[in-house]
Amino acid sequence: MGPSPTNRAIRPARRHRPTTEPLWVRRLLTGAALVFLALFLVMPLASVFAHALARGFGPYFSALADPETLRAIRLTLIAAGIAVPLNLVFGVAAAWAIAKFDFPGKQLLITLIDLPFSVSPVIAGLIFVLMFGAQGWLGPWLSDRDIQIIFAVPGIVLATLFVTFPFVARELIPLMQAQGRSEEEAALVLGASGWKTWWRVTLPNIKWGLLYGVILCNARAMGEFGAVSVVSGHIRGETVTLPLHIEILYNEYNFVAAFAVASLLTLLALVTLVLKTWVEWRNRALHGAEN
């Protein structure tokens, strides 16, 4: 008896296709990639929650309800609450100028906007100490007027502004460049004012990119450690943000509390990733619908 027709139909599909690897190679590579990611991403992520809950929910929640933790949360919210809106406004302004107009030196301007990404966070803090610190250029002038910037909240806000400066602009520039300016020109020719064009034409086109930039900007603003550490002075209850509070607790060997506070920021990071994936998915769906 020869092979049945169904068998014959299956056989070519089972044979190895020339544009992929044999099954065992695929399994091996997938396994290796997953082990790599497990060692560097999944295990640290899981360990935060494991250590935070090492002694159960009681110590976990009492660490979170500690007055110093609450003050650190407040300061972190203040810093992000100032840095994110400011960088949002300037990011949009920069993207508008760069994407919708032609002028010499544009490429240089884009590189300069990206500059804070390539500067070490420690140096980002140092530059403000050199400007506003007691021995800095503006130090004597500021101390005459009783204004404290370094080792105080304004310094923390400045350092946060610096490190989160590029996020919104760098998301919007390529997006707005790709969209060109014909839609805005059409709106203006049809008699819309500049503001109306912005609200009705440009903003709906860039809203997902804008949201994406704001999400990443906020994650960095709330999590910045190095730059803020330099300018904060670690005055407990006054200039300690959540990441600095983690460092203090950890150095005091108060591991459960340190990981409990860290779990808050980890949850923020996970929410950021979920939102980011959702925005990307949204973007792709919109993009796919247009094509």
């Binding site: 990639a33 997953l34 990611l37 919708k100 906007i113 390539s118 400007m131 610096f162 400066f165 600095l244």
Partner: protein
């Protein structure tokens, strides 16, 4: 020259460009220039002896060595992850894809204490390595682990879109001309991926060089052994040695600017190689 940008009918050019330039200058350019001005108050001899002091040299060796090594691990690991994510189907793939960005979203201090917990002697991974004589936390190896974590997404995210856009037809052509899978990969696919691989490598390297938060927890911070350059700057600041801190910052900034230039060149090379269809 004065009416550059005015040819467009769109409004707001002067306002937005003016705001951008002012904000950029006040927040980024003037403070950064301040570092160079401050370092110029040092004599050349003082500057040179600060930046070539034995402790500084040891910190450069560790910072550069560990950053290069970490970027190299990410070059291979990142290519592997990007390949698996683009080419293969497996359960939980979208979750894994989203998770790759974790080092961008997780605050560095959290990453630092979490990695220390996993890789120290009684941690989940450390307890298996310790009996084999491999100590990770509080050694240069710990610095390497932290810097690998920090740079992990870069190569994946630069290679992934290029790999997604590749036409299967060129692989079919290679196969029909008699190439086996490995030859197709080395001779056909890899050359197309090289610009994005190098860009990701350079980005991961640049990020690792400046990293501070995650390293300070896992490295143990022993001078001459596990002290990275940003930490040495921090130590000098805590001792109110502003001139010394500034001198080291100048060295790091110059290296960072050179890397930024290299990355820009690599990216323009990549976009020429990989013109969108």
């Amino acid at each position: 020259m004065l009416n550059v940008g005015q040819r467009s009918v769109l409004p707001g050019f002067r306002l937005t460009l003016g705001c951008t330039l002012m904000y950029l200058s006040l927040l980024v350019l003037i403070p950064l220039a301040g570092i160079f001005v401050k370092s110029s108050t040092l004599t050349w001899e003082a500057f040179w002896s600060t930046v070539t002091d034995a402790r500084a040299l040891a910190s450069y060796r560790l910072s550069f060595g560990a950053s290069l090594f970490a970027a190299a691990i990410n070059l291979f690991g990142g290519l592997l992850v990007a390949w698996v994510l683009v080419r293969y189907e497996f359960w939980g793939k979208r979750f894994v894809d989203a998770l790759v960005d974790l080092p961008f979203a997780l605050p560095t201090a959290v990453a630092g204490i979490a990695l220390t917990a996993v890789y120290s002697g009684n941690g989940w991974v450390g307890r298996w390595l310790e009996p084999m004589g491999v100590k990770v936390a509080f050694t240069p190896l710990g610095v390497l682990v932290a810097l690998t974590f920090i740079g992990l997404p870069f190569v994946v995210r630069t290679v992934q879109p290029v790999l997604e856009d590749l036409d299967l037809e060129i692989e079919e052509a290679a196969a029909s001309l008699g190439a086996n899978r490995w030859q197709t990969f080395c001779r056909v696919l890899l050359p197309v991926l090289v610009p994005s691989l190098l860009t990701g490598f350079a980005l991961a390297f640049a990020r690792a060089l400046g990293e501070y938060g995650s390293v300070v927890f896992i490295s143990g911070n022993m001078p001459m052994q596990t002290e990275i350059t940003p930490l040495l700057i921090m130590t000098k600041l805590e001792q109110y040695d502003y001139a010394g801190a500034t001198a080291l910052a100048v060295v790091m900034l110059v290296v960072a600017f050179c890397l930024l230039l290299t990355i820009n060149l690599l990216q323009s090379w990549g976009s020429r190689h990989h013109a969108p269809a």
